[in-house]
Symmetry: C2
Subunit: 176 residues, 2 copies
Amino acid sequence: MLEADDSPATNVDGLMGQFHAYLTKKGLKSTRQRDVIALKFFSAGGHVSIEDLLALARAEYPRVGYATVYRTLKLLTECGLAAERRFGEGHTMYETAGDSAHHDHLICVECGFVLEFHSEEIEREQERVARSFGFNVIRHRHELYGLCPRARGIKGGSCPRLEGGGDADGGRGSRQ
Amino acid sequence: MLEADDSPATNVDGLMGQFHAYLTKKGLKSTRQRDVIALKFFSAGGHVSIEDLLALARAEYPRVGYATVYRTLKLLTECGLAAERRFGEGHTMYETAGDSAHHDHLICVECGFVLEFHSEEIEREQERVARSFGFNVIRHRHELYGLCPRARGIKGGSCPRLEGGGDADGGRGSRQ
DNA sequence: GTCCCTGCAAACTATTTGCACCGGG
DNA sequence: CCCGGTGCAAATAGTTTGCAGGGAC
């Protein structure tokens, strides 16, 4: 459901191409590890943690270590293909650049469920505000923390495990 | 210039009162250290880091340690008088609750200058979006990263030291 | 007098770095 | 071949915690 036919491996190829172009331009090398990590990252589509990515990469190439994942993710961030997100306290999450440019986040404080949304109206207004201060906006983060429908249903208690239910809230969701 | 006569010690008293009320309600004690830290925190008005606060507190009461600052800030966060902000990578910054409820942030990626803004329109729209997903928003963070007027003026280069110039951008600014 | 609070230092967690060896171009 | 990349383990940075003694109520 999460990796359905939105735009599957279609533009993943394109992203990999951009990544390779960046490596070449910088005189850096394309290695098996970097490819696996980047590929898994682009394919994941949503929010991924270093740990997730390490696990995914190791599934395909068991020799990769933490450091390489960090280093590769830093490269991806440098060339604008990935963006760091620090939601709660815990781990840093990464998402693909396309996402970071066009989606804001709704985060459930009970269960950690993350949903992405987009509002042209907000986008426009924040541009207007920034301009009024003479700022030139490059990127932004907009996160709304609150209770998701399920957490509200069981008000007071903690949110039921979402893993089983899947992604029935209308958006692209993932858990921290 | 940064701690000018916006609203000096005026409502700081009120905030201290709220803090003490919380302590009492929880059966906790009011100590010299907590008072100094809270007072410095409220007086600072803008964004403060743990380090800043430790320095400020030590100026008045040299015996305070890191741990106490962390613990006190956690208390302040619990009772809603402080809010954590993680802008860039480095340290966590704290701001007073009033701010966190009503201000969003414009952050210069060149010089780290932080400016607060508020837009009812954005506020309203984000509420609407959240409701459409069944979310009940408790708090939010909204940060626009870009180039401040000065950084744009010296396009390409790095932003001039802001310390000297003070706060001429029309908002309440501070540096990380 | 009873707990809570404090400072110190050690513990922890997430991330980064040094180094010897491996591998891409 | 050369130089950058990799894995490992050690180092770091920010934050938390355990503990013995001090202070608020």
